[in-house]
Assembly symmetry: C2
Homo-oligomer: 336 residues x 2
């Protein structure tokens, strides 16, 4: 292998030391605002550092400090604005602890998830945040490697911060029951562990109402617009159509509503549609979408706090996160 050498040489503390006529160790102290350096020396060194355009070498620092001050966040899907708010919560909380955040996208691909974890482990991050992981068990590898790992919304994981998915989905179902619906369809998402809680809530809610589970009312969304259209077709093909559908998420719900309207089905008059996530545009479509909002920002904050205590040897208690919130708009109504 003859890997290309991108890097050119750069100014180091040695260069500064030479220019300032002091020892490198003095430069270090000066740059760290140590009290053990004469103020005027500090000034002089700071000036020279600035002049020379000095940038600390984190590799060297990490090597000797055995800590990078970095938190790695494994993002399942950058395209989903759902995760952006989580990121903000993470960033804001991280700033309070002098931690810096690095993101790596995986597009929901399991192998990419593994590579992301590997990358962060090599980087010697101080902690790993893994929202909606495909494979939580794998990350115990991270733990074994001595790096604290906190999962977001994966209750099976050893360390996790979660909001009550089941309760959120249950509240949607309850809302539909309250409107008088008895025959309710459900759109499940792409294969993966996250599929379960919503499906569980769906079936549980039906059971509570004494309604039999009907596999004909289960549709599958793969994340694409085409898939939402296909669901609309499936819906139309049904002889005994549901009066309401609980969609996988808002993107799915919005596309579904559009496809149904295109095919002459009125929402909510002919069928009620509910979503999940409450993305920004959910209130701007016609009809505005009934959905359930998650406290993503708080989840982000809590996950960093949890990680921080973990990293400091404290076994943190169960973090409490506000519950999902039902947002009733006009895409749901009483059945005809």
């Amino acid at each position: 292998m003859n890997k290309p050498r991108w890097q050119r040489t750069r100014t180091t503390i040695k260069d500064i030391a030479r220019a300032a006529n002091v020892d490198p160790s003095t430069v270090t102290r000066a740059l760290q605002d140590s009290p053990r350096v004469k103020p005027e020396t500090r000034e002089r060194i700071a000036g020279i550092a600035a002049e020379l355009g000095y940038v600390p070498n984190m590799a060297a620092r990490t090597l000797v400090n055995r800590s990078s001050g970095l938190i790695g966040v494994v993002i399942p899907d950058m395209a989903n604005p759902f995760f952006a708010e989580l990121g903000r919560g993470i960033e804001d909380e991280a700033a309070k602890h002098d931690l810096r955040i690095l993101f790596h996208d995986t597009r929901g691909v399991e192998s990419a998830e593994r590579e992301a974890v590997q990358l962060f482990l090599e980087l010697k991050v101080d902690g790993l945040l893994v929202p909606m992981a495909r494979s939580p068990q794998d990350y115990y590898g991270g733990l074994k490697a001595g790096v604290p790992v906190v999962h977001v919304n994966r209750e099976e994981a050893k360390h996790h911060v979660t909001c009550d998915t089941v309760a959120g989905s249950h509240s949607i179902m309850q809302h539909l029951f309250d409107l008088g619906h008895r025959r309710i369809g459900f759109v499940r998402g792409p294969a993966g562990p996250w599929r379960e809680p919503k499906m569980f809530a769906y079936r549980q809610a039906l059971e509570e109402q004494g309604i039999a589970y009907d596999p004909d009312l289960i549709f599958t969304f793969d994340g694409t617009l085409d898939s939402s259209r296909a669901i609309a077709e499936e819906f139309l093909a049904l002889t005994n159509r549901p009066t309401a559908v609980f969609a996988w998420n808002d993107v799915n719900a919005i596309a579904l509503i559009h496809a149904l309207k295109d095919r002459g089905v009125r929402v909510p008059e002919d069928v009620s549609i509910a979503g999940h996530d409450d993305i920004q545009l959910s209130g701007c479509i016609d009809p505005p979408l009934t959905t359930v909002a998650w406290p993503m920002y708080e989840l982000g904050q809590q996950s960093v706090r949890y990680l921080y205590s973990l990293g400091h040897g404290n076994e943190p208690g169960e973090p409490d996160v506000p519950p999902p919130r039902l947002v009733v708009r006009q895409s749901t109504g009483s059945p005809a």
Copy 2:
């Protein structure tokens, strides 16, 4: 400062060397699949490494190699799905060059942008990708530091990959003219350098048609839903309303359409609305949005290629990126 020590000790090549009864340098060679190591030794070492859960220390590696194999990407706004596709292009192209991608979000805040660049510089990334920067001139600091920097869509930057913003916006204006519009409003975005090209295209297009620029028809969008609503109110307050509005982006356009419909204005019968970006949901609203699509994926790819040549000492030629593409849907029509 007594910074906390998160990190526990971990297995290094020394541990492997000890367990395998060889010298650390042999371990290095074995792990690098060097031909200068006996196959069976390689096997044995690989086995032990796996067993011990060895994770390479990138800090040490970067230090000696003087290259991290990392590309830092400064993301202006994770919440904007517009950037997700760019990220994909970047990732795919980077993979071809054995480069790993790291993202850092800035929320469009200038100071955060600076911090992101600083972080990446400290990390000794092999290159910096800065889409839609607030302050390109600052990044010449990166260049001075010996790190190649490529801007995406900032023509003023020394090294940049751009698609023809002006042409894209111009095609929207032309489309509106073709429909017969003469009085066209424009929504400008949040303050920043990116504001200019669209505004320029708007004015230029008017001029070409011999239409006088009317400041009353300029609205301002700050990124929030409230702001879109406010624009709807401003529009209604106008005595001589425009027959078409070129919105800042799709999110703005969608929110604006919603707000207008809410207030009894029909789109496109009473007013045509055009957007910019062609986000996934733009085709799913009522009416489906006329907009202009950017080749974000290609921009991502090209920017990495450009960066790669830069890093290898080649001054790359102007990269060519497909032009923006007008997407005509139903939110625009002929004026009444």
